[in-house]
């Protein structure tokens, strides 16, 4: 099953490699990983998307908790949560296709953030499957490049992951 593990950790050099190293050393898979400092600059928040049986996920969370730099973590998949991913797509958009791309982007509530006479860069956020659907809707030959942040998320309601 897919799990989204949100980790609050010390914002220190090497912290990211400890997490990445743990996954590779113990043979766990990482589907995506995103990290940035929080409003408290001494802390980073990392979101790891991974797959595994309940036993494997239990070990992953325990092993992550064991890392000295990890302050707290939650498995978002255990409760109701919201998740979003950011994507930038550069698309060949010339002549007749120009209008089609724009209307597709509108349908998906994308934003065109760069325009040349032959291309668009579209910014889009949403759950990962929505971004997948948009890329699929575009003519394969027209896609120049795709960059995605990987999902991040938080639990719904008043409670949150903080100190």
């Amino acid at each position: 099953m897919r799990h989204i593990i949100s980790i609050l950790m010390e914002n220190e050099a090497g912290a990211l490699s400890r997490v990445a190293g743990l996954f590779s050393a113990r043979g766990y898979n990482i589907e995506s990983l995103t990290v940035a400092p929080t409003e408290d600059l001494t802390l980073s928040r990392m979101t790891v998307v991974t797959h595994g049986s309940d036993e494997v996920i239990e070990q992953i969370t325990k092993q992550l908790n064991k890392l000295i730099d990890v302050v707290k973590l939650i498995d978002l998949a255990e409760a109701v949560h919201v998740e979003r991913e950011l994507m930038l797509v550069k698309i060949k958009a010339a002549e007749a296709y120009r209008e089609e791309v724009k209307s597709l982007s509108d349908i998906f509530r994308g934003k065109i953030i760069d325009v040349t006479s032959t291309s668009y860069v579209i910014e889009m956020t949403g759950p990962s499957d929505k971004l997948d659907a948009f890329v699929e809707a575009i003519d394969e030959d027209a896609v120049i490049e795709v960059v995605r942040s990987g999902p991040m998320g938080m639990s719904r309601g008043e409670k949150g992951l903080h100190l």
């Binding site: 090497g14 190293g21 239990e58 070990q59 908790n65």
Partner: protein, 578 residues
Amino acid sequence: MELSGGEIVVQSLKDEGVEFLFGYPGGAVLHLYDAIFHQEEVKHILVRHEQAAVHSADAYARSTGKPGVVLVTSGPGATNAVTGIATAHLDSIPMVIISGQVGTPVIGSDAFQEVDMVGITRPCVKHNFLVKNLADLAVTMKKAFHVATTGRPGPVVVDIPKDITAPNIKIPYDYPKEISMRSYNPVVKGHSGQIKKAVDLLLKAKRPMIYAGGGVILGDGSEELTAFSKLLNYPVTNTLMGLGGFPATDKQFVGMLGMHGTYEANMGMHESDVIIAVGARFDDRVTGVLEKFCPYAKIVHIDIDPSSISKTVKVDVPIVGEVTTVLKEMIDLIKSSDIKVDQTALESWWNQINKWRDVNCLEYDRNSKLIKPQYVIEQLYEVTKGDAFVTSDVGQHQMFASQYYHFDKPRRWINSGGLGTMGFGLPAAIGVKLAHPGSDVACVTGEASIQMCIQELATATQYRTPVKVINLNNQYMGMVRQWQEFSYESRYSQSYMETIPDFVKLAEAYGHVGMRIDKPEDVRPALEEAFAMKDRLVFMDIMTDRTENVYPMIEAGKAHNEMKLRVAPGTPINRDLA
């Protein structure tokens, strides 16, 4: 007090009460060595190879419970230390390893003797630090000792660039007495609801087993374990790392379990209905094939590390906490509980165990004209009155030592259980002897293992550590040879050494006493003679039966009840087979 970085490191070691610093100098740590030169409180032990520095400090820690401390230089000094660090990591030994690093301005430029020590050691330490600012040095040292010695212990590396230790830059020294880290709060007390559940389960058991590991030794819980076991009168088995955690000569002790465990311990585990694992981690050498592990048992597991619980074997009642605290609470609960142990069931369980004991699985040919390694260990046990510190290397001799030397006290059996590091024994013996100069220290080794850190005979000369080296010389890498015999139709691929040195001359060359023993009747007198030489290192090269194997054995893919025995149960030993 204003101190330079080098002085801060040394002063912090003094503040931590460090007695010995095991190390080897080099370019990146010269400032540190200069600071060491100016004091006498922390005694530096100069080894002959950095791997040995870590093993010596590790064994010092295992035998005393205090953290072992190491100092090595950057680059090759640091990489040489890695095997020792990984050894300590897998056995959860509290250590602080200080490594020199090239100066901060040149880090990352492939400078002379530069290696990313923090990167290299990341997977084999409890934690590591790179000190980039002098102002962080003292607090980092404090954190290193704190992390290494609390919770589940382990090695911590502090990598210090050369410029941080420069003598001309001084800052006020303020070593914190206490430290708290928001990201690190090891659990102490177990969950009382879980403890109650565990006690109820234990008291209702009909075929109980107490399975105790190295956590009992590390957590200084052998008194509590013994009291707990005595109260219940349940059979106790120890893991390789747990030997000495419960007195081996006690009638409740059924021996070691696992791959080379006793028949009674393994059969007991297999048939048990309730197992309590205390500070043990269900290692693959203990469990055998997981699918067939303890099929009838409900399992209680006490461990300080949550990640040890249900890692390989799913347990029914997990308790995260210190062994001592949890066992004490259990003892109180047992005493006040309304549930009484079913004594009839327990009696018939003991009868069954005693039948397994009667198989006498550790019996060997005592009439052989060749020296049997088992006999040597039995004699060592008698000559040292069971009270020596015994270090070992890795292989057959290690198993013989664990099976035939009966450890009644914790911290007496010093071996590399998790990583299985050949070369551990001799430097370990030196570390133990420094910590316990008045005690007998024996290093049980083999002619293959001993050569992996043989250079430490020089360290032993320099610091006058009169340990006794018991070299069980079968002219094979015995354990490799045994596996090749069982699983590769005796194709002894590279397990035989054609050129074995004259160990007697070698010992003498280093200034020690060498002895060669090749007759069974000479073993006892030679051991007595060696241990009577209180102030000399004696290297005993004992020529043993080349074909001897370690039994019982659970082969790969087999379960506890599928042991390979020397002789089938009930069959008397054929004395003519030599």
